[in-house]
């Protein structure tokens, strides 16, 4: 356990050295400028639009970091040959992988935390009042990021960074469209295609579960029971992906 923490903290420091936090500057600029520009462009509803932009930016920035840092976590170590110094020590490969994952998760947590704080501040300044629903929405966005990071790490254990990025991006897109897979299957009736579509639906992550941005902004109720089930789904899916990643990584041959 302790070894995972050490690797995690090291990964966290490494991402900070990679100037990952610069995205916060862009996030801040985006929020401030949109807040100023909107007051001249729209008639009313500025509060809603600022909240929409804030939540969407937290989501987009998070996804970009999760994918593009996630795919490099393992491959960079292999490329720089630094992985040998760790593998040579009595550190099982799964500990290394979990440590790397936790480190990026920590980076994301800090990042999303700072963005959320800035976002809530902007909402407060725009006199809309921070609703608990917004906190819930940010929480589920973080859950989505954990799943995407796991996908990225899983792919990076067996393929090149470019391909991992492509695959993870594809999973992100498909993850938001899986509902359509099921609708399509339901329309086909009993057939092999329906079975295939159903298998796909249940095996791909349904990332739309983590999307309550609309409800949060419109002040619609988000049931705590829903939050619990969505979060449980996210944790379970992440765990499965990480187990898969560990199994693959264990068999990987380093050249």
């Amino acid at each position: 356990m302790n070894r995972i923490t050490v690797i995690a903290l090291n990964t966290f420091r490494e991402t900070l050295r990679d100037k990952i936090l610069y995205n916060l500057v862009f996030f801040g600029l985006l929020l401030i400028s949109s807040a100023i520009l909107l007051s001249t462009l729209t008639i009313g509803e500025q509060a809603k639009i600022i909240q929409d932009i804030g939540l969407a930016s937290i989501n987009v920035f998070g996804v970009i970091i999760a994918i593009f840092v996630g795919i490099g976590l393992v491959s960079k170590e292999i490329e720089k040959r630094t992985i040998f110094t760790i593998i040579a020590k009595p550190v099982p490969r799964y500990v290394f992988l979990l440590g790397k994952y936790s480190g990026l998760a920590l980076t994301l947590l800090v990042n999303v935390g700072i963005m959320a704080a800035g976002f809530f501040l902007t909402v407060l300044v725009s006199k809309a009042g921070v609703d608990l629903a917004l906190v819930k929405a940010v929480g589920l966005i973080f859950m989505e990021l954990l799943v995407i990071t796991a996908v990225a790490v899983m792919f990076s254990t067996f393929t090149t960074p470019t391909l991992s990025a492509t695959f993870t991006l594809a999973i992100y897109v498909i993850g938001h469209l899986t509902d359509d897979l099921r609708t399509l299957g339901a329309k086909l009736g009993e057939s092999l295609t329906k079975v295939i579509l159903d298998v796909l639906y249940y095996s791909l992550p349904n990332l739309d579960y983590f999307n309550v941005k609309g409800q949060a902004v419109h002040g619609l109720p988000i049931e705590p029971s829903y939050l619990v089930s969505a979060a449980t789904y996210g944790i379970a899916y992440t765990t499965i992906l990480l187990i898969l990643a560990c199994l693959i990584f264990q068999r990987r041959d380093f050249k």
């Binding site: 008639i43 809603k48 932009i53 359509d180 990332l207 941005k213």
Partner: protein, 292 residues
């Protein structure tokens, strides 16, 4: 050529290209300006498809489209064709974000004031009511459309009554509905209706539009008043009045009405027609029905 000379030649070429690029951009912008900005909405995909394509960012995309749509609505003159594009954009926006109440409200009003597309306005408002059954302004505006544009007082009263039962509805709505149920189309009812609506709106753009309409209705009420006075004058004096001022007197008018746009009322003794100096034609609402 020395390296330094080559580098400065390269720099100069780069600079030339930058200037050329800028000029080209200005030219392309001018070319594109030929087709109105609004036409962009024509290429919007159906809301249902766009909903899938935006990967959970429906709200932000709806906001961006909404900002574009308002700019289009703010253009000086909105043609009927442009009205159809605006309707399409509003339909897509509300499919992306069905709880975006402001879009239904402003769109519903704009589609009968900037252009006259009562059917489209009704469709937007009905869609809004479907997804936001608790918002009183939507049935209220529908009632407005039925009263002013479609001249269906009974339906108008139905919708106003429906609005009056929803949370947050001002208490006068019930009375207004009652009046509508019994009243024929009288300008004074319309003026009351618009004045209340004006008070209820916080949006400056919409307020401005309502104010215009209110004045038009006042003009129409005054013209009806003058018409009546002219016919009474003819009965009393067995001749036509020569000037509008002749209408002030016992049994006729106490004073001439003031033109709300700041102009004055014109009278033609030949035809005994009165009109406002500020309005080209009389408000059609009370004459024949608007073509649908």
């Amino acid at each position: 050529m020395s390296l330094a000379a080559r580098m400065s030649a390269l720099g100069a070429t780069g600079l030339l290209l930058v200037v050329g690029l800028h000029l080209l951009q200005v030219r392309i912008d001018a070319q594109r300006a030929v087709t109105p900005k609004l036409q962009r909405f024509m290429y919007l995909p159906q809301g249902e498809y766009l909903r899938g394509a935006v990967l959970g960012y429906e709200q932000v995309v709806a906001d961006l489209l909404w900002i574009q749509a308002i700019q289009a609505m703010g253009e000086r003159k909105v043609t009927e064709e442009a009205g159809h594009w605006i309707y399409r954009a509003l339909d897509v926006i509300t499919t992306l974000d069905p709880k975006f109440v402001r879009v239904y409200e402003a769109g519903g009003i704009a589609l009968v004031t900037l252009v006259v597309l009562a059917e489209e306005s009704n469709r937007i408002l009905e869609k809004g009511m479907k997804y936001n059954p608790d918002v009183w302004t939507l049935p209220y505006l529908l009632g407005f459309n039925y009263y002013f544009e479609l001249h269906d007082d009974a339906k108008a009263a139905d919708y106003i009554a429906r609005a009056s039962r929803l949370p947050g509805a001002p208490e006068y709505l019930a009375r207004l509905a009652t009046r509508l149920y019994v009243s024929a189309r009288e300008p004074q009812v319309a003026i009351d209706f618009l004045a209340r609506m004006y008070e209820q709106t916080s949006d400056e753009n919409i307020k401005h539009v309502l104010e215009q309409r209110l004045k038009e209705v006042v003009v129409e009420r005054d013209l009806q008043l003058l018409d009546e006075a002219i016919s009474r004058y003819r009965k009393l004096h067995k001749r036509v009045p020569e000037r509008l001022e002749d209408l002030v007197g016992p049994g006729l008018l106490r004073a001439l009405p003031r033109e709300p746009f700041g102009g004055h009322y014109l009278y033609d003794p030949q035809t005994q027609a009165v009109r406002s100096s500020e309005m080209k034609e009389r408000l059609q609402v009370y004459g024949k029905r608007r073509a649908q």
